[in-house]
């Protein structure tokens, strides 16, 4: 999410003795398909086998290199008041899909993870909007709320501290995901995403950016969900659906279901 075009990937395996070849083969086929869809070459790698009981079936490690997009200037230093916050799709789907297959939680509907290669989509946006894309982030662990807090609280040299205003009504969440979150007492803003990115873009191009993103793969449900502001620096503030305002804090540890 730094404006690079991914090209080559390394692929390392640690396999626990006892993993069946059939399972390993399934994983390999899946990796092959994903790398082909993303247009990335797997160029190097290694495989180690450890004794039974010394590994959790399989560990996979990857690392990639690519080249910088010539028009890209992705840096938190470019974020300024007035910029728009755009999310590329429905949030919280991945985390709830994982949750739904965890021990003891069964839902009537099946949630599919949103895992997706975003590189082609982002490349197309960089081609068209270049420098006007100020920041790109993937809201994985900790969700949208955590990433936006990291941006608002960044204290690195050269970064102007900003606040972020969010509009709850604008944030896309699938009905079944919202329902599952309600049931389990979780806030979708903190639930992990995979095939979703956040973009902070110059206000002048925000509408065009959104329009373009909605025509691209994995961007059909994109939405402008908020704005960078000069007020309340260091804080993310959400305007709720009913018009109330509250501070959206950083997640401490993992999000835990509540009984009280």
């Amino acid at each position: 999410m730094c404006g690079a075009i991914p090209k080559y990937l390394s692929l390392g395996f640690i396999l626990e003795e006892g993993l069946t070849m059939a399972e390993f083969w399934d994983i390999l086929v899946s990796i092959k398909g994903a790398s082909e869809r993303a247009g990335i070459h797997i160029v190097t790698g290694d495989t180690k086998v450890v004794e039974r009981g010394k590994g959790d079936k399989i560990f996979i490690n990857t690392s990639g290199i690519g080249e910088l997009h010539p028009q890209a200037d992705i840096s938190i230093k470019n974020v300024k008041a007035g910029d728009k916050v755009i999310v590329s799709g429905h949030i919280a789907t991945h985390g709830m899909a994982i949750m739904s297959v965890r021990e003891g939680l069964e839902f009537e509907t099946t949630l599919e993870s949103d895992t997706a290669p975003l590189n082609h989509t982002i490349l197309a946006l960089l081609d068209e909007f270049g420098h006007d894309i100020h920041l790109l982030r993937d809201p994985t662990r900790g969700g949208v709320a955590t990433v936006l807090n990291e941006i608002a609280r960044d204290r690195n040299v050269g970064v102007t501290r900003v606040g972020i205003d969010l509009k709850q009504a604008a944030i896309p969440v699938l009905d079944e995901v919202a329902g599952a979150c309600e049931l389990l007492g979780l806030d979708p803003l903190y639930v992990a995403n995979e095939g979703v990115f956040l973009a902070i873009v110059a206000t002048e191009v925000a509408d065009a950016f959104l329009e373009k993103l909605r025509t691209l793969d994995y961007g059909h449900s994109a939405a402008i969900i908020g704005e960078v502001v000069a007020e309340h620096p260091g804080q993310v503030v959400l305007t709720s659906r009913i018009g109330g305002r509250r501070v959206v804090n950083m997640l401490v540890g993992e999000q835990l279901p509540r009984i009280c």
């Binding site: 009905d175 709720s240 835990l256």
Partner: protein
């Protein structure tokens, strides 16, 4: 989606806010009793929509935050020293005991599991016959039926390796303790909707009469909360005090008789220490003595150094 949107309708909310602004002519202080209501007020940003004249006080403390330090120490001890599978609701595991929380114990290698239902813990006990499984049974009256049911079910299945560490707290005695406190400024209550869904509303009438204080059994969605607050403010403005039920779509006057029967079968009323508050007579439930085999406290005769119950007013843990 039905019930996810209709009680969050922005127009309806706006009407209630306006009505509240019109109705309140003097300063009023109201306590919402349930942490779920506090959560609803904060999550939806309702507090800053209320008239300045209406102050909400959050209390008397949710069951997670008022669980005594010693009991958390016992849970940590069972998980670390006795090698049990210690199961808990999620928000309990972050609350610190005298030296550490269950989350710390888990990080240190203890087998601590977060579950949504105590019946899951019974399943774990069946699947792990050579391990002891303990469920940390905290909560108000709301979680008690499921916790009690887990004991009933374990008994039916003849399980010898399942027990609960019970720390149930009861709402009405705590409300009374708050009212009797010399420093209290509370003039009316939102009673906890889900507690009343189990227990009914009969316990609150005598409190209303004795202390001449309005109480409204209230739900958790924005429209519920605002309607409940409006009902209390209307009573206060008119100088009335009565028990009303805003949450009638869920709360029946008699509560849930089947749930109460199971609670009675497993628990008996005891004095209970509340973290940050102190001992409140008759404010808790413990496992009945005839079911001692399912009571982790008796079964493992845990003794931990009793530490003073330091107030935790500076921090909410749940």
């Amino acid at each position: 989606m039905k019930h996810l949107t209709e009680y969050r309708d922005p127009e309806l909310v706006e009407q209630y806010i306006q009505e509240l602004h019109k109705t309140a002519t003097r300063p009023w202080t109201i306590m919402e009793v349930c942490g779920g209501q506090t959560h609803g007020l904060v999550k939806n940003g309702i507090l800053n929509l209320l008239p300045d004249l209406v102050t909400m006080v959050h209390g008397p403390g949710c069951p997670v935050c008022v669980t005594p330090v010693n009991l958390i120490d016992k849970a940590v001890y069972l998980a670390e020293e006795k090698g049990v599978i210690l199961c808990s609701f999620g928000d309990m595991i972050r609350v610190p005991g005298s030296t550490k929380s269950l989350l710390d114990a888990k990080a240190g290698g203890a087998d601590v599991r977060i579950l949504y239902s105590p019946l899951e813990a019974v399943r774990l006990a069946r699947e792990n016959p050579d391990r002891e499984v303990v469920f940390f049974a905290v909560g108000f009256e709301t979680t008690a039926p499921a916790n009690a049911l887990s004991v009933v079910q374990a008994q039916k299945l003849g399980l010898k390796n399942y027990s609960i560490l019970a720390s149930h707290v009861l709402v009405p005695p705590a409300m009374e303790a708050v009212i009797q406190d010399d420093d209290t400024h509370i003039q009316g209550f939102l009673a906890a909707g889900h507690v009343c869904a189990i227990m009914g509303i009969a316990e609150y009438g005598p409190l209303v009469e004795r202390y001449k204080m309005p109480m409204v059994v209230t739900g958790f969605e924005p429209v519920d909360l605002l309607q409940g607050i409006l009902m209390v403010v209307r009573q206060l403005e008119r100088g009335e005090y009565k028990l009303e039920n805003q949450y009638a779509r869920v709360v029946r006057p008699e509560g849930n008789p089947e749930a109460r029967r199971i609670i009675e079968q497993v628990f008996e009323v005891v004095d209970r220490e509340w973290r940050g508050i102190g001992n409140i007579p008759g404010s808790g439930w413990a496992v009945r003595s005839e079911l001692a085999n399912f009571d982790a406290d008796r079964k493992f005769s845990v003794s931990v150094t009793k530490v003073p119950n330091a107030p935790i007013a500076s921090r909410v843990w749940c």
